[in-house]
Structure formats: C-alpha cells, structure tokens
C-alpha cells in the first residue's frame, strides 16, 4: 500500500482460517487482508457463509482454538493479536476491542440485570468500585438512548424489547471505551423502524467517541447507511474494496455488480430481476480458479484455472478479478467487458 506514517487501528494480513475435522477441511477465510484507520467504519458485505463472522471472531480470538487453524498477521493498534495470552487477552477483549452480535443474548447474561453486567465489566477492566461501575452503567444507558435508563438498570435482558436489548448490548460493548468495535449484523434481526434508529445511533456514537468500527452485514442498504469503506467477501476471500461510494455506485468486480443488480427495488416491478445464477461454492472444495468463476458471466478458461490476483484500482481500492484493469488506465479502469 501507500507509505503510511500512522499505524492503522486494524491491520489484517493474509488471514487464513480453516476448520479441520476428520471428514473435511472448511476453508472459511482465505488470504484476507484489510486495514481500518482510527475513527473509520469498514463494512464487510457478503452472503451467508462467506466468512464474515469467522473473520471477526478471529480478530477477537473467539474461535475454538482446537478446531480452527489460524494463520496470518492480526494487529490492533499495533498489538499482535495472535500473540496475546491469558490476562492480556482478557484485557484486550472488551477493553481495546469489543464485539456486538446479531443476537444480544449471546453477549448478555440472562441471570443478571443489565446494570449489574455493565458495572461488573467496568469494574473488572478499570479496577473501580462496583458503585462507580453502576454510575458508568447509567451514563452508558443514557448514551445509547434507553428511555427511563435508571429504571432499566434493574431490568433483566428478557424484560427488554428487541431494540432495547440491542442498545443494552451496545452499552455493554462501549463500557470500557474500546478503540475498535466489531459489529456482526447487530441490526439484522430488528424491524425496519427500529433498525434505522440503531444504525443512526451507532454512527453517532462512533463519531463522537472516535472509534474504529468493522460492521458486518449482508444488506447493501445498511452498508450505504453506515460505512466509510466497504470490503466485499465471497467464499472466504475479499473480492473488492473501496470507499462506500466507489463500491456501491461504481462496482468493479462481477460479483459486486451481480449483488447490486439482484437486489430488488421497487421500480423493477413487472420485469425479471437480473439474478446471479447458481449458488456459492462448497468451502470444503473450493474451485482452483476464481471462486466466483462458475457463476460469472465474464469468466473464461483462464478464470477457471487460476486464482485471479488482487488488482489495484487506486488508493485502497482493489478487485480480485482477471477482467479488471489496474489503476493507470484510470477513467474506465476495470470496466468489465459487457
């Protein structure tokens, strides 16, 4: 990449994650590299099984150590994440980096009140008293706009509505002022009118707190709403990156183009949708060539035989495809033969 003086908040280089069992090896994440600057929001977009959650879990060291074989370099704020052990790892998780999930009950403990959980987390990470932790919990619930926050401190997670539970989980994640927030589809299960509230809230908090964020979603609309930059994943690989404007309004990779054209919107009524044929490959037996090759309208024999390289299309903008042209041809670089 370019000569950067500042260390990025997140630097992932050649991350590979394989799940090995007696029957098969699942190549869940393959040669993923990505960078997130301080205060930046990167959205990872991809369909089910493309490796989004596994990548996030690798960054948090949440994968089952025995089954998941991880290689590559993972650094958060200059710290080598794969080298963290014991206490350091505990301080890192929920300290420098925090994660929120689609299902808040994976992060919240059903037997403790929301206030108790946040206070306890704050106490553990900062060594303050439980009372001080509780005060911080109240501050946090107010920050994430939980109405009647004081009363809600004493609520158990199941007593809250879906939207409030999601806010409580965000409050918990923010409790130790993380520099990096990993958000794995936190709004997917929410209703439209609640999802937009949470998205706007998260964007606002991210800006006010100056956090970096990696936000995983399969919804292009969510990415358009919240991302600064976007990375598109397909079959465990990043196939395209760029600013959110670049990727969503001028996609270069045939898969990204296909995703955009197959996303339904109203004015398509009465006509067929341009769907991508077929379905994603089996991660136990990836094709030798481009993993999108079997579904790609532009594929030739070359594509099916060899892995396409990462083609640099500009600063921090790349596509993994034989059919896009590298940067110098600027203007219509990468315009795939139509």
């Amino acid at each position: 990449m370019t000569t950067e003086t500042k260390t990025p908040l997140v630097s992932v280089r050649d991350l590979n994650v394989k799940f090995v069992s007696r029957e098969a090896t699942v190549n869940a994440v393959n040669d993923v590299s990505l960078t997130v600057q301080h205060g930046e929001v990167l959205c990872i977009i991809g369909e089910s099984g493309s490796g989004k959650s596994v990548s996030m879990r690798a960054l948090m060291r949440l994968l089952p150590e025995r089954r998941a074989v991880i290689s590559g370099k993972l650094a958060v704020d200059g710290q080598d994440v794969l080298a963290l052990k014991g206490k350091e790892l505990a301080a890192f998780r929920g300290g420098e980096a925090a994660m929120i999930f689609q299902e808040p009950m994976t992060a919240l403990d059903p037997v403790y009140t929301v206030g108790h959980q946040i206070a306890e987390t704050v106490r553990r990470h900062t060594g303050c008293s439980f009372e001080e932790g509780l005060a911080r919990a109240l501050e946090l619930l107010e920050l994430v706009k939980v109405p009647s926050a004081k009363r809600r401190l004493n609520a158990f997670p199941h007593e809250l509505s879906g939207g409030l539970r999601q806010r409580a989980m965000i409050a918990l994640a923010l409790s130790c002022r993380p520099k990096l927030l990993l958000a794995d589809e936190p709004t997917t299960a929410l209703d439209a009118t609640v999802q937009i509230q949470v998205l706007i809230l998260m964007r606002k908090l991210q800006q006010e707190l100056g956090m970096g964020m990696i936000f995983v979603t399969h919804d292009l609309g969510v990415a358009a709403e919240i991302a600064d930059r976007v990375a598109v994943m397909y079959a465990g690989r990043i196939v395209e990156t760029g600013t959110v404007q670049e990727v969503l309004t001028d996609p270069k990779h045939p898969y990204t183009k296909g995703m955009l054209s197959s996303t339904v919107h109203g004015n398509m009524r009465g006509q067929d949708i341009e769907a991508i044929p077929g379905s994603p490959p089996d991660l136990r037996a990836l094709p030798t060539g481009c993993s999108f090759g079997p579904r790609c309208a532009f594929a030739d024999s070359h594509c099916l035989e060899q892995l396409p390289p990462e083609v640099m299309l500009g600063n921090d903008r790349l596509a993994r495809c034989f059919k896009v042209d590298a940067a110098p041809a600027a203007a219509d670089a990468g315009s795939v033969p139509a």
């Binding site: 369909e47 089910s48 109405p147 509505s161 879906g162 939207g163 409030l164 209703d191 439209a192 009118t193 609640v194 999802q195 937009i196 509230q197 998205l199 706007i200 399969h218 919804d219 292009l220 609309g221 969510v222 990415a223 358009a224 709403e225 991302a227 959110v244 404007q245 969503l248 309004t249 296909g258 995703m259 955009l260 197959s262 996303t263 339904v264 919107h265 109203g266 398509m268 009524r269 009465g270 067929d272 949708i273 341009e274 769907a275 991508i276 044929p277 379905s279 994603p280």
Partner: protein, 373 residues
Amino acid sequence: MDMTETKSALSSVSADDARDRGGKAQPMLIARGLQKHFPITGGILNRTVARIRAVDGVSFTVMKGETLGVVGESGCGKSTLARLLMHLIPPDSGELIFDGEAVAAKDGLEVRDMRRLMQMVFQDSYSSLNPRMPVEDSIAYGQIVHGASNEAAKQAARALMEKVGLDPNLFGPRYPHELSGGQKQRINIARALVLEPRVVILDEAVSALDKSVEAQVLNLLRYLKDVFNLTYVFISHDLNVVQYVSDRVLVMYLGEVVEIGPVDKIYANPKHPYTAALLASRLSMNPDDRVNEPPLIGDPPNPINPPSGCRFRTRCEFAEKICEIETPALPQDVGPMGHACACHMFVAKSGHSKSIMHAAEDVTPSSPAESPS
C-alpha cells in the same frame, strides 16, 4: 394511471379458469372480521391471565390473479393471519369466503377441499421437508395422499421440478441436507404447487435467502404465477420485495389492518402515519442519500395490552386526544381496488384537528380507475 401498470404485471393470466366457480369478478378470497387471541395462562390454576391480540378484526379481499402483499413489523400478526386463512388454527370469530363459498360453514366449502386450493410456503425451508425422504418423494407425497398412483404422482413431481428450475435427474433423488437454501425453497414451492392450488400464501418465503438467490426465487414465483394462473398472498417484512411483487398491499400494525390499497398508491402516497414511517425507514443503496433522523422512536408495543383507541398513537407524531379515546375504523366502502386507511385524520369530522384537511385531500385526487369497469 397506476392501475394499468398494476394490471400489466398480470397480463398473461388466462382469464378463464375452469375451476372458477364464482366468475371472474368474484374475489378469490374474502376475509371478514378475522380474530385470533392467544390466551396466556399462569398461576397455579393455569387460568388465562392475559390475551395476545395477534389478529384483531381483520377484513380484506384478494382478487383473482393478483398478488396481495402483507407488511408489518415482527409480531404484528402476519403469520397468524396466514394460518387463519389456511384454517391451520381456528379463528375466534370471523369468516372466510373462498371463490364465493364460505369456508367451514354449513353448505360451504370444507376445510379439506379448501386446503387443496390454497397452499402455503414458509420461511423455514429446513423444517418443512422430511429429512429422510428424497425430495422428489416429498413433492409427490401430496398427490399420493389425495389418491393418485405412485407412478402418476412421481411423474407430476418430476415435471414440477423442471418448472422450478431443478433437473429432476440430478436433484430428485437427493435428500434435503444435500441442497442449498435456495434449492430447498424451490422444492417447497414445487410441493405447494403439486395439488394445483389456486392460491399460494408465501410467508416470508424468500426472507432467509441470500440476495442473489432471493432474486432467482422471485423470478421463479413470477413465472409460476403466469403459468399456473395463481393468486398470491405474499407476506414479508421486506418493503422493497413487497413493492416488487405486489399489486396491492395490506399494512398491519399490532393485529390490525391500518392501510390497504394499490401498491403504487401506498408507496407513492402513504396515508397512515405508520405506513409513512415504515416506508421512510427503508435504507437507500446510495450512500449519499442516508437517513439522518429516525422516522419513529421506540419499539412496537406489546400486543398483550395494546394502547386504547388507535394502537399506533403511542408512536405517532400526529396523535391527539381523539386517538386515545376512539378506535379509527378501516373504511370498508372503498371497493376492492380502493385505498383505505384507519386513521382519524382521514375521517371527516372525526374530531382530529387535521381531519377535514386530509379528508378533503383524499376526495380530490382519488383515481377514477377505482370505480370498477
């Protein structure tokens, strides 16, 4: 001229269906005052302590050959409504008329016969297929139960697999776990069509699919509708998908219909504040076109103790005293293709300060296409 647009989507529907009993103008389905409350029991005596008003007095019409979209947030009663239409659960009250015949009434259409004519496809394609049966047998099963020979049923199943875009030689002998989500949903659709239904109720049928696969299945549904002269009730929380597939749209909130009308009118000119907020919550795919203020605050309230009067009033920016006191009714006199909404602002002299204005507005532009013929 939005009505003509709506019609063109149906152009290849054959006008004469031999199975038509009531004639072309007879609605396929009429629901009147459907109600389903689920009791919540508790205490040592297991007495009913509360009731979930899942579907609470729902009336609407589905015309022949149309797609009626049903939208609304989680828990508003969409699936319960679907199950009531199928008579999978008995309604507490209300009636259902299928092509002119009352369902489950004396001298009416028996539930068993109605269920052949109306089929359902669910979101959860995994649990609805028998895991120990090759998928072609799963499709054939329906016909065998209804007396077809094994051979004939298998033939029909294989023909249908072709129609849903799966090679019967390749996929027929497979078991559900050997198929992708999209392929399983195609099998479910084939299975729903094997008894040659007239109506298919699709309850979040594409919601669990990835966008690229969802697009394939939506194209398939469009094609099948034309080929088999089907009528769809399409339930989804995805407002973009509903706009794409529907001729008319029904909007539910906490067990009630708050608005119904032609898709173009609802999307271009929503009347009910809830519909407007729901539509304004849609995310744009253009990052330069972000939503910066949430259209609504808070979550939908609990259907156990819905607010008095208008159920939306606790989240509505236009709520006034009258909204708390009186329940706004959904006008039933707009005709099957009309645009109706249950809000005091749209009822003349309702006591809402905006009532006259809106009511007047409503009279002027109402399209001439609404009056039949």
